[in-house]
């Protein structure tokens, strides 16, 4: 009695076993599970009983080989760190679950080539439809999804060119409004703490929003007041330290970070440098995370519609898989949340 190394199929019942026990054909077992309303209630009850008795779980591979659908939806996000996408994927899962779909999650660590590879694996495993974060992706990703007939929706941004279905918010206007707020407080030298913009439309748009607001009052954003960071507190801390190293008369009195993680990293750098927040430096983030909200002082940020994006994405994908109407583009509202990290320059 050796163990089989692979996932063995000890004691696994199949549809014929259930059929035999219930005294019907395997087709009726299948119908009972998939179109119960087409089966006589009495027969149905007998089948259900047999299913329970044998602890029958339909074989997903066989089912999807035949039906060309797995009822699995993939969400491919940049990273699970800092829980930036957690509330969206939670909302997505909840909505999918309610319609009998399951969620498959994967992360690509901000590497679009990895995203393509991982998505290919999921396509291979039969995932029916996809949610991605952002508008920037490898062209090969779209052609693969096209080839294999997999619906998808891009999130976190709105595709103004309307080439791809998308659900998000206006990233550019979000940072534009934050910057206007800083300008209204009297700041004139405003810095930007951003992710690398290549392959990251959110970072690009958010940077553009800062420049928009500055341009409205005839100001510019000199290159020396822009620092780039990878998505990690420590990296953001170092990037901010570079801005702080500017001579006093060129150093920003306020910094717009393109997300809360960067903003908190910037706060760390200020604490280390003995710079008082918000008297000597104002800082803003984007995403309104707990990380930012619990800092001292609390981080001024933008509440982005993370839950709404997840729910809407689920609804769109389900609608498309089931051949129903849907809105291909949705731009959802955001809201500024003022806290103690912003004030008039001291």
């Amino acid at each position: 009695m050796e163990d089989k190394p692979q996932a063995a199929k000890v004691g696994r019942a199949n549809a014929s076993d259930v059929a035999r026990l219930a005294g019907v054909s395997s087709a009726t077992v299948s119908r009972t599970l998939n179109q119960p309303e087409q089966v006589d209630p009495e027969t149905r009850a007998r089948v259900q009983q047999a299913v329970t008795k044998l602890r029958y779980l339909p074989h997903g591979a066989a089912r999807s080989l035949r039906s060309h659908r797995t009822r699995m939806i993939g969400a491919v996000v940049p990273s699970f760190d800092y829980a930036l996408y957690a509330r969206t994927t939670s909302a997505l899962q909840r909505r999918l679950d309610a319609s009998g779909y399951s969620l498959v999650l994967a992360e690509h660590h901000y590497d679009l080539a990895a995203e393509l590879r991982i998505t290919g694996q999921l396509v291979q495993h039969g995932v029916d439809a996809f949610m991605f974060v952002g508008l920037d992706h490898e062209p090969a990703l779209f052609s693969m999804l096209e080839d294999y007939g997999r619906p998808y929706v891009l999130t976190w941004g709105v595709d103004s060119g309307r080439q791809h279905p998308s659900i998000g918010f206006d990233n550019r206007r979000a940072t534009c409004e934050l910057t206007r707020h800083l300008l209204a407080l009297g700041h004139r030298r405003i810095g930007l703490l951003s992710a690398a913009v290549e392959g990251n439309d959110r970072a690009r748009e958010r940077g553009a929003g800062v420049r928009d607001a500055l341009a409205e009052v005839g100001l510019e954003l000199p290159a020396e007041r822009v620092a780039y960071s990878t998505i990690a507190l420590d990296s953001a801390r170092l990037a901010m330290a570079r801005l702080l190293a500017l001579p006093p008369e060129r150093r920003p009195s306020a910094v717009v970070a393109t997300n809360d993680v960067f903003a908190v990293g910037a706060m760390m750098a200020c604490r280390e440098a003995g710079i008082d927040l918000p008297r000597q430096m104002s800082i803003t983030g984007v995403d309104n995370t707990d990380l930012g909200a619990t800092q001292t002082p609390g981080l001024t940020s933008v509440r982005t519609p993370v839950v709404e994006i997840g729910t809407a994405a689920a609804e769109q994908l389900i609608a498309r898989l089931e051949g129903r109407e849907h809105m291909p583009q949705q731009c959802l509202p955001f809201k500024m949340v003022m806290r103690g990290s912003t004030a008039a320059p001291g």
Copy 2:
């Protein structure tokens, strides 16, 4: 030319298409992909070329129907919020990826019945093996995994009864050491901020660790100094407020929270109540998250071996799937990280 509503198979090439183009049989295509060393190098090259040309991806469902393996590994975690498990799942994915397996992630929101249901879906979809968080699970979960021959490993704790393979650390000793530290600082009234212990062995063990340390010096943990919270900052804040509402002579001068999220919620409650940290209240957490580390003052916590758990879990599962040797139980080291949130009572 209507669009098919479901994931259609437009332009999808199959093994026969590849075979035809390469002038071989579909069996040879299969061998080229799965046992390339058994195929003549020249033939192999021709097949590879055809694969690329047709952008062929093997049909995962058909493959797993035949071979009884999907090379998918499932990780079922309590929640994606607060990134508590993010670094573990990242490490897991990296290690799996390196061996050609893919990761399927799901969350159960601390609901063990939901965990069972979700795992059932994954079993149906053919997931080969599983990682779970914690030692407490529905008995039906284990019998299902047994029935379907799916290897699994429990993480985040060590199963002293050795009934189940597990990889984790000594939760009890972690909070015991934190509590000893508080006692050494001179605290005598120590409180506990915990998750509900039912179905949560980590919370149970961590609470026991606090009681252990207190018992060592002849102290007890009265019920009024224990507050329970769900895993959310706000809930923890309210739970802490209940401890703060005790009359001064019974109110704790230090609180051990069973994780960093609770500890930060406790900090929020103290700030609201105008209680100075750490002079009037010491607080400790577990997990050493960025959320805790960036607070003012920084949160004293325990660095748990989150990355190591993920890597070790991947290695064990792969070893078992491939019939190799493995260590069924692993207890990994943790480390206390002292920060400003703990001090002698003021």
